[in-house]
């Protein structure tokens, strides 16, 4: 959620009254904003860089306000004030219209086809006769930055350039050229560079280096020229120094270059509507019925009242001649309105969510548990009753956890691999619950022995028959950790689980365990093909069969497994699939 920081006093001045912090918090809440923090520049610097750095910094009180991610029109002081004032019915929803320059000729931006290879779209507008103050100027720059970070997706989708129109002359050309053919003095530099040199120069720039990748490997770079060949900007990296805007700028030329034309238009609309009462976009109109709003929200207001509510939300609305339908004007600032339900939400907000009467739906249904979860719940209770304590371990882990540490080859695990893990802890989805339990033991070595742990949860395995190529599998895993291996304890637990599942001992229809055919001396190195078995101590491992099918294993863990999980005592384990018992 973007956060907008505004000077409190400036905000109150614009709103025409002061509020206590609580009152303002309440107003924000109603309007769907959140007053996140009350602070000052001095506070922020002192928190981030220490008190000494903060000395002399401004202690003007700042409000940090969280704005919903789709309300680009609230990303600056101007937009916030406009939204709140209209909401409080202190002013009418603004109307925007386009004006022609006194010369009568609108500016033109010509897009050449070379741009298709790198950044195909561009839109532009002019703000005329603007008067900047320091605050307005700062807010103008900050809005650009907020838009760049949010809707522009860090300049990948859209990049904004603003220029002093009086220093350049149209028509403008948006084209793309090989980097060595572009040469200009970039913003805040004293000399000319080629684009190739610039990309090198900015490699170390803490701010700009994050945007270089957008065009870096492209054969041609985008560039905008004026009719005299002056470079306005090399989007999405940097503007030219020549046309930079200042407090004295009267006419602002705004260009947005983009890979997404819809977003470019949204961004341009935001820039012009926030900073000027003139705009080139006309209103769009929607009609809907008052009844629709009443039915969806669960209220019964007159059509007139609903039109009033919508108007309060900057959606100027009028009841049409039939008395049923409402015509709603959608200003260009409200790009979030794409369906009647968006208008319905505004009506509900204006009515006040907390004023709506809470009702109980008469939907009659009978509840059902998922059989797999029902069985899991029942088994968990009885495993705890059998003296085992429940662990809750992560579904994601490192490759090492499910392979090397268990003396297995990763290729034999059917593991699903994560493409973008930030750390090794999130390389794969677990294929067995055992590593999680062993790590839990390791983290609790100080606890009195014996330690008896279990977990019933899902592992993930590749499976070609599923639409996504993978499936979950519900497993029951238990470990016993003590000075002696306690195979009989884990064996007894297995017998108990079978008893709970109503499977009697015996071959064919019952359950039995069968020694793994590997005998002494079988290590992972000498028998790499026997990787499934290798986590256990040779000769101390058995396969479990129920109703004639293999459902898992139990045994004493291999000493190498024990030490790789930083354990020191013998440990026995049980690992079974419970899905066959559904």
């Amino acid at each position: 959620m973007p956060t907008v920081s505004v000077k409190r006093d400036l905000l109150f001045h614009a709103l025409g009254r002061t509020y206590s912090d609580e009152e303002f918090d309440e107003l924000c809440f109603e309007f769907g904003l959140e007053l996140d923090e009350i602070t000052s520049e001095k506070d922020i610097i002192s928190r981030e860089q220490g008190d000494t750095k903060a000395e002399g910094a401004s202690d003007v009180i700042l409000y940090k306000i969280d704005v919903p991610a789709n309300r680009y029109d609230l990303l600056c002081l101007e937009g916030l004030v406009r939204g709140l004032q209209v909401f409080k019915e202190k002013m009418e929803a603004p109307r925007y219209r386009r004006v022609s320059p006194t010369s009568g000729e609108p500016q033109r931006l010509v897009i050449t086809e070379e741009t298709a290879a790198v950044r195909p779209h561009a839109v532009a507008a002019v703000l005329r006769n603007i008067t900047f103050t320091q605050e307005r100027y700062d807010s103008f720059i900050e809005l650009q930055e907020k838009l760049h970070q949010n809707v522009c997706r860090k300049r990948t989708l859209v990049a904004i350039g603003t220029h002093d129109l009086d220093t350049i002359s149209g028509p403008f050309t948006y084209t793309a050229k090989p980097p060595d053919d572009i040469r200009f003095t970039p913003l805040n530099q004293a000399q000319e560079y080629t684009a190739t040199e610039l990309m090198n120069l900015y490699k170390t720039d803490s701010h700009l280096r994050h945007y270089l990748h957008i065009i870096e490997d492209k054969p041609v770079y985008p560039v905008i020229y004026d009719s005299n060949g002056i470079v306005l900007s090399m989007p999405p990296i940097i503007n030219g120094d020549h046309s930079k805007i200042s407090l004295n700028t009267k006419n602002v030329f705004i260009e947005c270059t983009a890979t997404d034309l819809t977003k470019a238009k949204i961004v341009l609309d935001m820039m012009v509507t926030m900073f000027c009462e003139y705009c080139e976009e006309p209103f769009t109109k929607e009609t809907l019925s008052g009844d629709f709003i009443n039915r969806k929200v669960g209220i019964s207001e007159s059509t007139e009242r609903i039109a009033q509510l919508l108007t309060k939300m900057c959606l100027r609305s009028e009841v049409m001649s039939d008395g049923e339908q409402i015509e709603v004007e959608i200003p260009p600032t409200r790009s979030d309105v794409i369906h009647a339900c968006d208008i319905m939400e505004d009506a509900a907000m204006a009515y006040g969510f907390n004023n709506i009467i809470r009702t109980t739906p008469r939907t009659y249904t009978v509840a059902n548990q998922l059989p797999l979860n029902k069985l899991t719940e029942l088994l968990r209770q009885d495993l705890a009753a059998a003296g085992f304590t429940e662990a809750l371990t992560f579904a994601l882990c490192s490759q090492e956890d499910i392979a090397d540490k268990l003396l297995k080859n990763i290729s034999d695990t059917r593991a699903c691999h994560i493409a973008n893990p930030k750390t090794a802890e999130f390389q794969v989805a677990r294929t067995t619950l055992l590593p999680g339990l062993l790590k839990t033991l390791a983290a609790n070595r100080k606890m009195p022995l014996p330690l008896r742990l279990f977990e019933i949860s899902d592992v993930v395995l590749k499976d070609e028959t599923k639409d996504v190529g993978a499936k979950n599998n519900r497993r029951l895993c238990a470990v016993y950790y003590n000075k002696s291996p306690g195979f009989e304890v884990i064996h007894g637990l297995m017998d108990r689980v079978m008893q709970l599942l109503e499977v009697k001992p015996g071959r064919d229809e019952g359950y039995h365990i069968q020694a793994d055919t590997v005998t002494y001396g079988a290590g992972p190195a000498s028998f790499p093909t026997l990787s499934l078995y290798s986590s256990f101590f040779p000769g101390r491992c058995a396969e479990i069969f129920a109703h004639g099918k293999s459902i898992g294993r139990l045994g004493v863990l291999h000493p190498d497994v024990i030490s790789r999980f930083e354990l020191t005592m013998p440990c026995s384990a049980l690992d079974i699939d419970i899905e066959p018992f559904l």
Partner: protein
């Protein structure tokens, strides 16, 4: 004392008594005998005075000099020929410190005022001594012969009836019992059981959420979440490299989803961008269980006749986020969904009220919020009596028509939904500040052993 002790035998009874009195310290005794340091300084100085250096060499010199100075018995002539020299200023003195100490020595300390005593205590001349003693009397069962007391009732005593003549050692009911040898359920899972119970009580059917790996299609696209949405970023979502892509979709539905995103339809303008199947095919670890809700609602829409449903799930979801004390890369999401004709926003708030009442939360209020697949969207806040403020307890909303209509659900059907995390209420319930102490292998097993039963409304 354990049960073998004599505390309750009542052969004798002992009453503890204590008394306090004042005694002279070693230094105090010396002064009682030879006079205070200041008096000895005074008497050491002859009429013609004494060099300060020489005075300071005396054992009592330092303390005595400053006290005598403050009593104005002596004076210091700093400019005296041959160095600073000390002279008497009065003829006679009264050594009250010594006098007082002598009073105490005679056992008449009560004659001194408390203030005087504490003054002398500060100078470490007096100390207060507590003497503890026991007053022994015959107990109610006083006897001069000793009978051996039995510790426990035995089968033999019951058979022979000999217990009637035996005396039994009393138990010490102050001691703790022996902890039973048992296993324990994990606190987070105990809370999960309670939430499941609440949904079942409210008539909600459990959804099959046992598929951690999901296609972007079901996780995002089917929910009308545009393909450039930040949640679909590498920074927020775990993508899979193997299996990297999903390969099977209901194709006619997929086409309707493509259309509503890129061109609009179903009363919507859409997002107007170039929707790509390659994005939808990308496999991820699901970022919310709403992906399963989408599958269930699609399945519901394929039925010949629509029947109202109430669904719930509680299962793991995954976010490629920065980890901290309250955020892990995986957590449990609780989700409730109701689909029926003509549901209203008032119904959503009503059902949330019922749900949270079962959790013991009755004060709710709703804040407008933004979520790509619900409109309206509301954050749910509850008043926390302990923190004395409103805290966010969940998210809710009405699924957008752009999500439901392409699935094939009838026009008049509204679907309301809400979600919250399982970890947050559990951390509040059990007073845990660091999520790693609760979830994952770093859990403190003692905490698991000690955790009470979970009654959410208590």
């Amino acid at each position: 004392m354990d049960e073998a002790g004599c505390g309750g035998c009542q052969v004798i009874s002992a009453e503890q008594r204590s008394s306090k009195h004042w005694e002279l310290t070693g230094e105090g005794c010396e002064i009682a005998e030879q006079g205070s340091h200041e008096a000895r300084v005074f008497s050491s100085i002859p009429d013609e005075g004494m060099p300060q250096g020489q005075l300071m060499k005396l054992a009592f010199g330092k303390v005595g000099f400053s006290k005598a100075m403050s009593n104005k018995w002596i004076r210091l002539d700093k400019g005296h020929e041959g160095g600073p020299r000390v002279f008497r200023t009065v003829e006679n003195i009264e050594d009250s410190v010594r006098d007082k100490l002598l009073v105490v020595q005679k056992g008449q300390s009560s004659q001194l005022e408390e203030k005087e005593k504490s003054e002398l205590k500060k100078r470490k001349l007096l100390s207060e001594v507590t003497v503890k003693s026991y007053w022994i009397t015959k107990g109610s069962l006083f006897s001069t012969t000793i009978t051996k007391q039995e510790t426990e009732l035995t089968p033999e005593m019951i058979a022979s009836g000999s217990w009637k003549e035996k005396k039994f050692k009393p138990y010490n009911f102050e001691a703790m019992g022996v902890a039973p040898d048992c296993g324990h359920l994990h606190p987070l899972m105990k809370v999960r059981t309670q939430f499941r119970q609440i949904f079942l009580e409210m008539g909600f059917t459990e959804m099959p959420t046992n598929n951690f790996i999901e296609s972007s299609f079901w996780n995002f696209d089917s929910l009308f979440q545009p393909q450039q949405h930040p949640a679909r970023d590498q920074h927020d979502t775990f993508f899979l490299s193997d299996p990297a892509q999903a390969h099977e979709f209901p194709l006619d539905y997929l086409e309707r989803v493509r259309k509503v995103h890129s061109e609009g339809g179903f009363g919507s303008q859409g997002y107007k961008y170039d929707w790509k199947i390659e994005e939808a095919q990308k496999n991820i670890l699901r970022t919310h269980t709403t992906a399963v809700s989408a599958r269930m609602l699609y399945k519901l829409a394929q039925k010949e006749k629509f029947t109202p449903v109430k669904y719930f799930s509680i299962d793991r979801v995954f976010r490629n986020e920065t980890l901290d004390a309250t955020h892990l890369a995986e957590f449990h999401q609780i989700e409730g969904v109701v689909a029926d004709y003509g549901l209203t926003l008032g119904d959503l708030m009503g059902i949330l009220h019922q749900f949270f009442t079962k959790l013991g939360i009755t004060k709710l209020r709703f804040k407008p919020a933004y979520n790509p697949y619900t409109e309206p969207s509301m954050e749910v806040f509850s008043y926390h009596e302990g923190l004395k403020k409103w805290v966010e307890v969940g998210n809710s909303g009405v699924f957008r028509p752009e999500m439901l209509l392409p699935m094939g659900l009838p026009e008049g059907v509204t679907v309301i939904a809400w979600g919250l995390s399982l970890e947050r209420p559990t951390m509040i319930k059990y007073g845990i500040n660091n999520i790693r102490e609760l979830v994952g292998h770093k859990v403190n097993l003692q905490m698991v052993y000690d955790s009470p039963v979970c009654r959410l409304d208590a």
